[in-house]
Structure formats: structure tokens, C-alpha cells
Symmetry: C2
DNA sequence: TACAATTTTGTAATCAATACAATTTACAAC
DNA sequence: GTTGTAAATTGTATTGATTACAAAATTGTA
């Protein structure tokens, strides 16, 4: 399977947002665009380490912070406190499996979920999270419940 | 101002959920019911330390975990990864100020915000978060922007 | 009182994230 | 191509909330 986006295009996207397209920055953004699993920093790091043996984890942190500050990616908070990243910052919700940690996209029906309580507040971001058990994990739990 | 709920009533609530009402457990739950600021563990700890000088922070962690597992309280994820606690687990959204960290209740208009993407998932919890700047902090930011 | 179960405490360990100085790289000027 | 400066990258030390776990204290009961 071919990548949906070329390295050159990724570089252009970065330039358009005022970020100089270094090799690491291109690879990180491209990884997020091609691997829609909402990876953690360490996941991205270990994947890119294969291609860039001198890579430092700090560079991943720096890059993700830059991309996020320009709105090119999205941060996802998790119950464990670890941050996960999403290369598609369009408005949508996230489901997280409490057993295996998988994060799945869920679409939102309402334009806004909120009524009163926001008077005087400057809201810059909205996030909707679901927690529970993914298909695989809930089936495993059923089986282990049957046994006990 | 009198507490909205007596120690005895708080004990009854705990017993009703199968939690033995020790002094610490009563105080922690009561603190959350009377101080609706969505405090962090350390905030609760420092407050109760005045009344219980031998108190250990581990006891706060233990108690909050027990209360949460029985659905008596609610955990709130924050961008910094720190967990904040809410004694009122009824369905509502939370706004967090990125400058001062204040967390404010916001009511939800929709019964559910979600459409497709949840097929096969066992959803146990839904959470809606807003981020931005509270009234005080956004006013301060305006003033400092004027100067620069 | 004696005993077991539960609760509480205190300390060490974990781990993602940050701070920051050192090193390397990119790139323009000469 | 050499030099110089800014930017990018690296590596290490530190932070800070949370967890793990064993010791100590408390509770309830026989
Ligand atoms: Mn997503
Ligand atoms: Mn609340
Ligand atoms: Zn799962
Ligand atoms: Zn504020």
C-alpha cells in the first residue's frame, strides 16, 4: 500500500504553517497521517528509530508540541495520564478501551453539546471521550466471567 | 455556613455502597460534597491534614479509588495528567482554564453526542471536556496583550 | 485478652513529561 | 570552501503524580 501523502506534500503542509520541514518533523507528521491508531510518544519514537538510529525521544516531544501548537495534530488525554496523538484534528470523539488501551474514532452528531455554564469563558477546545471495552476485550471478559 | 450534609448521612451513603465508613472515608467524601472545586489529591490531602495530623496521602488515593469504583465520585482528566475529583457524578461537562487550572461545571444539552463508530463497543463512561481561559484569566491576558 | 481482618501509614519505585546544557546540523555571507 | 550564527537535535538530570508494597495501627469479635 502506497502512502496517502508524499514526503514533499507533508513538507509543504509544514511550511504552510511556518514550521521548517526537517526530516524528523516530516517523518513524525507522516507517521501520524499514515498510522491512525492515536499513538503515544513512545510508539512513534520506537517506529521512527528504525529509520533514524540517532533519534532522540526529546525530538518527538519537541515536534509534537510544535505540530500541536499550529493545530496540525490533536492531543488525546487518557485515564493513565499518557498523552496520545491524532494527525486528524477535525472534530470527532474518542473511545478508549480500558483493557487494551486501543483508541477508536467516534463521530459526533451534535454541533455543540453544551448549554449554560460557559458565560464569560473563552473556550478554545472541546473534547468528547468515551471509555469502556472494545469488541475483542469485551468478548474476552465474557468468556472469563463464564468460567468463574 | 452549615454543611449541606451531616457526618452521619455521609456514613450512611458509604454503608449503602458497601464501604465501611471510617473517619478518613467520611471526611474525604464530605470534603468533595462541600467543596465543589474539583480538587486534586494533594488539595484534599492538605485540607484534611489540618484535622487528621497523622493522615497519609496514600489513604487519600485509596479512598478515592474506592469511592470511584462504587460510582460515588467522578474522575476528571486534565491536560497536565493530574486527576481531579468531583463528588457529584451526575452527567455534566467540565471546563478547565489552561492558565489557572480552575475547573467549572458546564451543563450538557444533548442526551448523547454520538452517532456511529460505537458498534460493538461496550461504553461504560462518557466525558465532555472544554479547555480555554476563565473570565479572570482571559481579562488578564487582554491587558497584557495591550501592553505588548 | 487474644486473634484475625481491615485500615492506615511510610517509603521506594515507576514512568511520562519537562528542563536544560551540549552537540550537531543547516545555511547564508564572505 | 571556510567561517559564523541560528536552529535543530541529542543526552542527561529532574520533576511530579501515581502505584506498589510491607510495616504498623486500628477495629471488631470470640
Ligand atoms: Mn481520532
Ligand atoms: Mn463537576
Ligand atoms: Zn480492548
Ligand atoms: Zn483561569
Amino acid at each position: 500500500m502506497q502512502p496517502a501523502i508524499t514526503t514533499g506534500e507533508t513538507g509543504d503542509r509544514l511550511r504552510a504553517k511556518g514550521i521548517k520541514p526537517s526530516v524528523i518533523r516530516i517523518k513524525v507528521l507522516q507517521y501520524l497521517l499514515e498510522n491512525r491508531v492515536h499513538p503515544a510518544v513512545d510508539t512513534i519514537y520506537r517506529a521512527l528509530l528504525k529509520e533514524i538510529p540517532t533519534l532522540s525521544k526529546t525530538s518527538i516531544y519537541n515536534t509534537l508540541k510544535a505540530l500541536n501548537s499550529k493545530g496540525m495534530i490533536m492531543e488525546i488525554m487518557t485515564p493513565g495520564g499518557e498523552i496520545r496523538y491524532d494527525g486528524y484534528p477535525a472534530r470527532h470523539a474518542h473511545f478508549m478501551c480500558l483493557k487494551c488501551g486501543a483508541i477508536k474514532d467516534v463521530s459526533l452528531s451534535c454541533a455543540t453539546c453544551l448549554t449554560h455554564g460557559t458565560e464569560g469563558l473563552k473556550v478554545t477546545e472541546e473534547a468528547v471521550y468515551l471509555k469502556g471495552y472494545c469488541k475483542k476485550c469485551s468478548e474476552k471478559l465474557k468468556i472469563s466471567n463464564r468460567k468463574s
